[in-house]
């Protein structure tokens, strides 16, 4: 079971959390202006890297807050967790 450090509560066991998929995928500000392919990419396309991955987590059975984390998908080690709105750490590459 992972040990996840909520930026608001500290280190807690994984069962208190819910994963929310890849982070830093911004919802288009004007969806109507986005073509079908771009919208499909926003909805469904994910980078699924082997290695460092920025992802969303919700401390659902805790403070109820969403935050972002950088996790290595191979080792499962969390390199960093940070609050929503804070910038993507340099370690993770912009996908597009």
């Amino acid at each position: 079971m992972l040990l996840i450090t909520c930026p608001y509560c500290g280190a807690r066991p994984e069962i208190e959390f819910r994963g929310g998929g890849e982070a830093h995928i911004a919802r288009p500000s004007d969806p109507a202006a986005v073509d079908d392919q771009s919208w499909a990419e926003y909805l469904y396309y994910r980078s699924n890297p082997k290695g460092v991955h920025a992802e969303r987590w919700l401390h659902v059975h805790g403070c109820g807050r969403w935050f972002n984390a950088v996790r290595n998908t191979v080792s499962d080690s969390f390199e960093q967790t940070y609050r929503m709105g804070e910038p993507r750490p340099d370690a993770t590459k912009e996908r597009r």
């Binding site: 079971m1 992972l2 040990l3 969806p31 109507a32 919208w39 909805l43 969303r56 969403w66 929503m84």
Partner: protein, 1006 residues
């Protein structure tokens, strides 16, 4: 000398750790076995001259006890502690002897001594590697009907108990600085060092006593004290320190992410009369800052023909039985092996007064001074020999050996008579937990074994688990690991005399002059895999150990090949003529040893297995004789049968009451979310498909919510209580996920909106009063709210009091009738409910359940999200296109609604179905097709989502999702029934009160 069958006939006169003042009696296959406290079942059986304890998995060969620990592959027994306390597949080597316990052997019929399944042994050529894959592959239907049941019946090991387990199991979470796994010499030294600095330490060992090999070491002196004295003193020192937990009988079975360790503590099985209140087992989940793996090593067997006869054991185990249990596994023992440790075992056997011969199967150039030393004790030592086979059947009677004169040149056979053989093919570090931690193993040529390499987690291996076999080095290494784990730099060196014999040769298949294809040398005793099987697999082209393992099943039994893996790997490498590391090693997975279901389940059984949420009126409904149904975690009253009434009659009566007079319904399970803040309306405007900005306070609106992919996610009525306050309702099952969905957008996309979300599901109880008489019933109870239609129209909300209790009173209807949903604080539900029932009695007020509610809403064509939708249904598909605001620039899911796929004409659309036979109620889930004569597989147009008998219509009704459904109105289609197809007509999905006038009150409007 006592007869071989008399009690304790093989018990040595002196020594051992057993308590001779405390006799213990249990039974084995009905026979009484005399033992002492401190015995295991295995040591007690051996003390009574019993070696034959089971039949092997595939060939039903007689099998005995191989080892003295948790690596035992053979001696699996059914253990019965009485009254439902029976479980199979217990290793006799780890179960402690206890008065009254009944042990039974497994996998034989009719008896252990005479087993018909042993015919498999004669048919052995049939059971070669890949036998199952080659034989039972065709025809496919034979697999589950014939092959699998027959194989399982023939090859099964134990039989699972059928009774409910009467014992209690608990679970405990713990945190520590240092977790030491294994209480042998390195583990004790590690715990001693770690605890010295005040670190929080947990020391866990699977055995009843801590000490590991020190428990049967009669010769080593540690820092000038006897090994056992050092053990006892060290343990006492450790245990006396604060913040140290010492756990015997505790197996660390799982090493998971981030140093999350699972272990099971066997609390009461060893107690004659367990104190009330103690659990049988305790599952520990430990989060350790540092883990020290001091798990020791497992001895390997030797691969010679018929190496599996009862009486053939591992050499160190023979030593343990002699020294620790004062048991002679035999009176005439032949030791055979390639290790220095086997020489020590032979010396110990000799000094216990047993007749000993030693066969060294190494190349004579590898032998050292140990040969001379053993000979000096009067033991015949044969060097330069190989083993040809063994004799005996239910007990070994001799070992056939021969000198090796040169490559391929085996000399004359000689049979060494014996009643036990002690073999030692080398040692394998127990790297299971290290491997589970995802650490990388590396091959160490000098010891012909894989040892821990690069760590993946915060752990460290010490002692034999790390390939360090010398006792002094083991202690030093353990100490260093413990000190480092606790963050100190203290160092210590242990003095041990005499020094440990750690030399080891490399055992593979032994030279023989017999036809290798006609003999069987076992590698995996539990799965009956032989050297021949491995070689066949290699001949057939398997090269990776992972593939060989799956093809031959070697190492795949419940012991995970603890004794056999390295030998099997060596044989594969030998056959492929490649070095071991190129063949690879297998991955170990939890659990290290089998774990009871009880420990895993813990308290989560019966009522706590799947907790039931009870609505506030649950007890009342129960007292009324309601029949309940599960809805998410809730139990809801499905209908309220009166005397002699079946479901159909009850539901029809309840529906009729609502349509003609008034019904009352507990709707408390509806999800509720309080949405508050200056931007609350804007927030809802973005979350729902329809518009909210202009909804006036005091009004309600039905809202439809999509996921971003455009599919219906949830729905419910939303009331605007004040300019900045909304009372949102969700489906019963969707409450939690809707809140998560809302929070997600609020926190991550629109963090600029000033909105607060609070779940109020548990705070508001909801009483639905529905029917033409609803207003008359509640009017006298309501204070401060004018219920007249002009002042309180349909889809309005008022705040006031009912029966003096604060209420949010909704005028809404899910039945199509005039209706109210009365929200009151949950604690007041019963008071208000009782008052309404009393007030409604003259009107024939009738409680109704979810079944009537479903039928009533289906008559009006109202969907239930999750029943009439399935996550692939758009608003338009559901006939709710009108709910989608055309003027809003954006809302969640809007963009997806114009993706090309969402606009296809053949999308499944919600329609009504009526059956040609008006009494036929279709099955929900029934498939809908156009042409019953079409070839199979025929095109499926859709399926029935809801289906009921409609009392109001006088015929059955159904809702269905049908491809291009709205263009098929009036068409006849066919729905599957258990007895064939039924003709159905596609209709608009509204069956009653098509104009929707009844919600405005009273029959006069119809």
């Amino acid at each position: 000398m006592a007869s071989d069958l008399s009690a304790h006939s093989f018990r040595l006169a002196n020594g051992g750790r057993i308590d001779r003042s405390r006799p213990v009696r249990f039974t084995f296959n009905g026979r009484t076995i005399d033992a002492y406290a401190g015995d295991t079942i295995a040591s007690a059986l051996l003390a009574n001259g019993i070696h034959l304890v089971g039949r092997s998995f595939k060939y039903h060969r007689p099998r005995g006890i191989l080892s003295h620990g948790s690596d035992e592959p053979n001696a699996l027994l059914d253990i019965d502690r009485g009254a439902g306390r029976r479980d199979p597949n217990n290793r006799a080597t780890v179960v402690e002897a206890l008065d009254g316990l009944a042990a039974r052997s497994q996998n034989h019929w009719p008896s252990l001594d005479f087993d018909l399944g042993a015919i498999n042994d004669r048919l052995a050529p049939m059971f070669a590697a890949g036998f199952y894959y080659k034989t039972f592959k065709w025809p496919r239907t034979f697999w589950h009907r014939l092959y699998e049941p027959a194989i399982r019946a023939m090859a099964g090991l134990g039989v699972a108990p059928t009774e409910s387990d009467p014992d209690r199991y608990t679970q405990r979470n713990a945190h520590c600085d240092v977790l030491v796994v294994g209480g042998g010499p390195s583990g004790l030294a590690a715990a001693l060092a770690a605890s010295e600095s005040g670190a929080r330490v947990i020391l866990a060992d699977e055995q009843a006593e801590l000490g590991g090999t020190l428990l049967h070491d009669r010769i080593s002196q540690i820092d000038g004290r006897a090994a056992d004295t050092w053990r006892a003193e060290t343990l006492a020192t450790i245990a006396a320190r604060p913040d140290v937990i010492v756990l015997p009988r505790t197996t660390v079975f799982g090493y998971y992410n981030h140093n999350h360790i699972a272990m099971v503590e066997r609390v009461t099985d060893h107690l004659q009369a367990p104190p009330a209140g103690l659990p049988r087992e305790r599952l520990w989940q430990v989060r350790a800052k540092k883990v020290i793996l001091a798990t020791g090593a497992h001895e390997r067997p030797l691969a010679f023909a018929d190496n599996d006869r009862p009486g053939i054991m591992l050499a160190e185990s023979v030593r343990a039985y002699i020294n620790r249990y004062a048991v002679a596994p035999g009176r005439q023992i032949v030791f055979a092996g390639v290790t220095g440790s086997a020489y020590q075992a032979a010396a110990d056997a000799k000094s216990a007064g047993l007749a000993v011969t030693f066969v060294d199967v190494r190349d004579p150039t590898q032998c050292g001074e140990e040969v001379g030393e053993l000979r000096a004790l009067g033991v015949e030592v044969l060097t330069g020999h190989t083993i040809i086979g063994s004799v005996g059947r239910k007990r070994v009677a001799g070992l056939i050996v021969a000198p090796v004169n040169g490559p391929g040149d085996v000399g004359a056979h000689r049979t060494l008579p014996c009643d036990a053989i002690a073999m030692s093919g080398g040692w394998t570090p127990a790297v299971h937990l290290f491997s589970q931690s995802r650490g990388r193993l590396q091959y160490r040529d000098a010891i012909d074994a894989f040892v821990p390499g690069a760590s993946a987690q915060s752990e460290c291996s010490a002692g034999a688990a790390n390939g360090t076999y010398d006792l002094a080095a083991t202690l030093d290494e353990g100490w260093r690991a413990g000190a480092e784990a606790a963050g100190t730099t203290a160092s210590r060196s242990f003095a041990v005399a005499p020094s440990t014999r750690t030399d080891s040769g490399r055992a593979r298949s032994l030279p023989t002059d017999r036809d290798a294809d006609r003999v069987r040398a076992f590698l995996d005793f539990q799965n009956d895999v032989t050297v021949k099987d491995i070689k066949l697999a290699v001949r057939e082209g398997f090269q990776s150990i992972e593939h060989v393992k799956r093809y031959t099943t070697t190492g795949m039994a419940t012991d995970q090949g603890k004794t056999s893996n390295m030998l099997a790997l060596g044989i594969v490498a030998e056959a492929l003529e490649r070095p071991v590391p190129e063949v690879g090693t297998t991955t170990f997975r939890p659990p290290f040893t089998p774990v009871s279901f009880g420990a895993i389940v813990g308290q989560a059984r019966d009522a706590l297995f799947d907790p039931i949420r009870k609505a506030p009126l649950h007890d009342w409904a129960e007292a009324q004789g309601a029949v309940f149904e599960p809805v998410a975690l809730w139990r809801r009253a499905r209908y309220f049968p009166q005397a002699g009434e079946g479901m159909h009659a009850a539901v029809s009566r309840e529906c009729r009451a609502v349509r003609s007079n008034v019904g009352i319904f507990d709707a408390s399970t509806l999800g509720k979310i309080e949405v508050v803040g200056p931007d609350a309306a804007e927030f809802l405007n973005r979350i729902y498909t329809n518009a909210w900005l202009k909804l006036a306070p005091g009004r309600c609106r039905y809202g439809l919510m999509l996921r971003e992919d455009g599919f219906i996610f949830d729905d419910g009525v939303v009331a605007r209580i004040a300019e900045d306050r909304f009372h949102v309702t969700t489906t019963t099952g969707g409450a939690a996920r809707v809140l998560v969905h809302m929070e997600d957008y609020l926190q991550t996309e629109w963090s600029d909106l000033k909105v607060y979300l609070t779940s109020t599901t548990e705070q508001w109880g909801v009483i639905a009063v529905q029917g033409p008489k609803a207003r008359e019933v509640i009017e006298p109870l309501v204070e401060g709210i004018d219920l007249s239609p002009g002042m309180f129209p349909h889809m309005a909300v008022r705040v006031g009091r009912i029966c003096s209790v604060p209420t949010r009173l909704f005028r809404v209807s899910f039945t199509g009738e005039l209706g109210y949903e009365i929200n009151v604080p949950t604690g007041h539900m019963r008071t208000v409910w009782d008052a309404i029932i009393k007030q409604g009695a003259p009107f024939g007020i009738t409680p109704y359940g979810t079944e009537a509610m479903h039928a009533l809403r289906a008559e009006r064509g109202f969907i239930i999200v999750g029943q009439d939708t399935d996550g692939t249904v758009t608003p338009d598909d559901a006939g709710l296109g009108g709910m989608v605001s055309a003027s809003k620039r954006d809302f969640v899911g809007k963009r997806s609604l114009v993706r090309p796929d969402m606009l296809l004409a053949d999308r499944k659309q919600l329609v009504g179905l009526t059956t040609a036979d008006p009494k036929l109620v279709l099955d929900e889930g029934a498939q809908v097709v156009a042409d019953t004569k079409a070839p199979i597989p025929m095109k499926m147009l859709g399926h029935v989502t809801s289906s009921y008998w409609s009392d109001a219509c006088g015929h059955s009704i159904a809702l269905a999702l049908v491809s291009g459904g709205r263009a098929r109105l009036g068409e006849t289609l066919h729905a599957t029934t258990p007895s064939g197809f039924a003709a159905v007509k596609v209709v608009t999905p509204v069956f009653f009160d098509a104009e929707g006038k009844r919600v405005h009150g009273g029959l006069e409007h119809v």
